[in-house]
């Protein structure tokens, strides 16, 4: 019976395992192996070499780009957390009718189901030099020169990130919040806590697992992104993902692989640290 359980478990998990071996583990192994190979203009040569890593670590641009990656990730994280927490808090604790709660929650999630690229490009008529934002600000007399930094800048990159990924924060936080027993809030009020005190001393600590899960989502999405940065910065900015995609575009696979290995290690370390603070399986 005992042995049976393990065999049955593996049998049922076998399709999953096979898919993950074929499309997750093998690719990672391949990337690691290839990162030690050499390349020509058009092909890769299976010959061991540390050259890719030497070049990577030897270039100041690498550090700059990793810094930019963290910068995007951290700023986006802070913004999505602030917005996501506020929105989830509003839905969970200020909307009383459950029907209304679900309706508003759905309203928030709908854009999440539509194409990321479409959502991204939809900012362009908005933010351009002659876009809606600038025209409006100019016609209201707030500015007389168009704001250049609205588009093709760090601002627009982060704006798009926040636009795309806030939902990944709202959903787990809302999920955790709705599971907070309402009598805890009443107990806090009973104990003289103000609304703000209740938020800080009760709701926030109890929402931590949701925040952690949202954080994992947002950080990995932003750190692995390359397309948003390309679009929204007008190709002017780069994060690690773009470095890799540029290398790939130029057929520099070994170099791309080396960068990818470093990115993977970085992401896994970050997520590993986060996972120490939350038992995902328990929180689901």
């Amino acid at each position: 019976m005992l042995k049976n359980r393990h065999i049955q478990g593996w049998l049922q998990a076998s399709p999953l395992t096979l898919i993950l071996i074929g499309f997750l583990i093998l690719p990672i192994i391949t990337i690691v192996v290839v990162s030690f190979w050499q390349a020509t203009e058009f092909s890769i040569i299976p010959a061991f070499s540390l050259e890719n890593y030497q070049f990577l670590f030897g270039s100041p641009v690498t550090y700059k780009v990793f810094f930019a990656t963290f910068k995007y990730a951290l700023i986006t994280w802070a913004m999505t957390l602030a917005i996501g927490f506020t929105v989830a808090y509003y839905l969970a604790f200020h909307i009383r009718s459950q029907t209304m709660q679900i309706a508003l929650f759905l309203l928030c999630t709908i854009p999440f189901w539509t194409s990321n690229i479409i959502r991204m490009i939809s900012w362009i008529p908005f933010l351009g030099r002659n876009g809606i934002a600038n025209s409006a600000l100019q016609s209201w007399g707030i500015i007389d020169q168009p704001l250049e930094w609205l588009l093709y800048s760090d601002f627009s990159v982060i704006l798009a990130f926040v636009h795309l990924y806030t939902l990944f924060m709202v959903v787990p936080i809302f999920n955790t919040m709705t599971r907070i027993d309402h009598s805890l809030i009443e107990a806090a009020r009973d104990n003289g806590a103000s609304g703000f005190q209740t938020l800080i001393h009760v709701i926030f600590p109890l929402t931590k697992p949701g925040i952690m899960i949202g954080t994992i989502f947002v950080l990995t999405l932003v750190m692995g992104d390359f397309i948003t940065v390309r679009f929204m910065s007008g190709s002017q900015k780069a994060n690690v993902g773009r470095l890799i995609s540029n290398d790939i575009a130029l057929l520099q696979y070994p170099s791309a692989a080396a960068t990818a290995v470093i990115l993977l290690i970085t992401v896994l370390i970050v997520i590993g640290i986060l996972l120490r603070f939350v038992d995902i399986r328990k929180e689901l």
Binding site: E41, F42, F55, K64, G128, G234, Q236, R242
Partner: protein, 390 residues
């Protein structure tokens, strides 16, 4: 199996992978031509790494230089090409007219031939085996928004003029962009190149140093990769000066936005495209492919492309598919006698207007360099990547 059951899969950049061509092939030749349009990098990538995914590669000559050694393409038997003789000299010996000088960079004739059928190295002169059949080419220069600039522009050096801070743009395709950079640096007098088309590491470093500095100072609004991005940037006023492709300028103009294809004193940076055959093609499909190539050079496509502002490799045959007004306007640089429309019917010019840059010979005769893949290309590519990321 009949010819009408054959399907040839062609991929290439959006410039020439036009669905209208596929339709016309079906009409004229009976078989099916499937078109996939990609950006230049994806084109290179696919040609180099996915030989099974295509039958016909519509690529540029500098891409050919990179890809040919993979063996993914097969050489073409010149004797099977009917209009070979009518192909302009640029693609054969590099000279437009016998007295023309050779331009720098990866000129089409340097990668246009191989020694034998299976050879992986390029021949130095014409042989019976061609790598690509030339189809389309042009000479590029800076495009500008005269309404927003308000003064004449005469030199490539203007691209880095601080006057256009935040309003300049550059093309993010390394082999093309580096040549624009070289034109600029040379015009500014900052760098003297031995051979722009084959720079040394020092020359590469110097060039990037200048452009990185400019980028840091906010000279550029955005970088672009495809034809249409450049159109959108220019049309929306985000950018007022950038190197552009002739039809892109036409596209901006057709929206009623003033835009000039500005001839410059240093000359043009030229590019050329052609179609190559997948190494996997054989038998009836190969026959169909040759049929397609011969059809391609027989004039209809040439006319179609010329009416967009490109040039055909066999202008003579194209002439039959153009009106006299069109031929005069597009090829001879004469004022239009009637309105000029694109193949899809959009008005491109009114009677009396002339084409920027003049006639075919004025333009193709002033080519300073070609898009290039250099000996130090790998080094250059890495530096390019750094430049983009910096």
């Amino acid at each position: 199996q009949e010819i009408k059951d054959i399907t040839l899969r062609q991929f290439g950049t959006g410039v020439s992978n036009l669905n209208d061509v596929g339709q016309k092939v079906k009409e004229d030749l009976g078989f099916t031509l499937e078109m996939t349009a990609l950006d230049s990098d994806s084109v290179t990538q696919r040609a180099a790494t996915q030989p099974d995914s295509f039958d016909i590669a519509d690529i540029e000559y500098w891409i050919c230089k990179k890809v040919w050694p993979t063996g993914n393409l097969q050489a073409m038997d010149v004797s099977k090409i009917k209009n070979y003789d009518k192909i302009v000299g640029i693609f054969k010996d590099g000279r437009l007219t016998p007295e023309s000088t050779l331009a720098q960079g990866t000129a089409p004739h340097t990668v246009g031939f191989v020694e034998g059928e299976g050879s992986k190295t390029f021949a130095t002169e014409q042989t019976n085996w061609m790598t690509l059949i030339p189809t389309i080419y042009n000479a590029d220069t800076l495009g500008i928004r005269p309404d927003l600039i308000g003064r004449p522009i005469e030199t490539w050096a203007e691209l880095l003029n601080p006057e256009f801070k935040g309003k300049a743009s550059l093309l993010d395709i390394s082999s093309i962009g580096i040549m624009d950079m070289a034109m600029v640096c040379e015009a500014m007098g900052e760098v003297q190149y031995g051979d722009k088309g084959n720079m040394t590491r020092e020359e590469i470093d110097k060039t990037f140093a200048i452009f990185t500095e400019a980028k840091k100072n906010g000279q550029f609004r955005a970088f672009w990769k495809t034809f249409d991005e450049s159109v959108n940037l220019m049309a929306s006023g985000e950018v007022v000066i950038q190197s552009m492709w002739s039809p892109a300028i036409t596209a901006v103009k057709s929206r009623g936005i003033p835009c000039v294809y500005q001839p410059l004193k240093e000359g043009y940076r030229s590019w050329g495209g052609g179609i190559g055959l997948s190494a996997n093609l054989s038998g009836m499909a190969l026959d169909a492919a040759y049929e397609y190539i011969n059809w391609y050079l027989s004039g209809w496509v040439g006319g179609y492309l010329m009416r967009q502002g490109y040039y055909s490799a066999v202008p003579e045959t194209s002439k039959e598919f153009m009106t006299e007004n069109e031929w005069g306007y597009w090829f001879e640089g004469k004022p239009a006698t009637d309105i000029i429309t694109s193949p899809t019917g959009d008005t491109l010019a009114q009677a009396g207007e002339t084409r920027d840059g003049g006639s075919f010979y004025d333009r193709m005769g002033h080519v300073a360099c070609w898009n290039a893949v250099m000996d130090e290309n790998q080094y250059m590519v890495r530096k390019w990547n750094e430049f983009i990321a910096s």
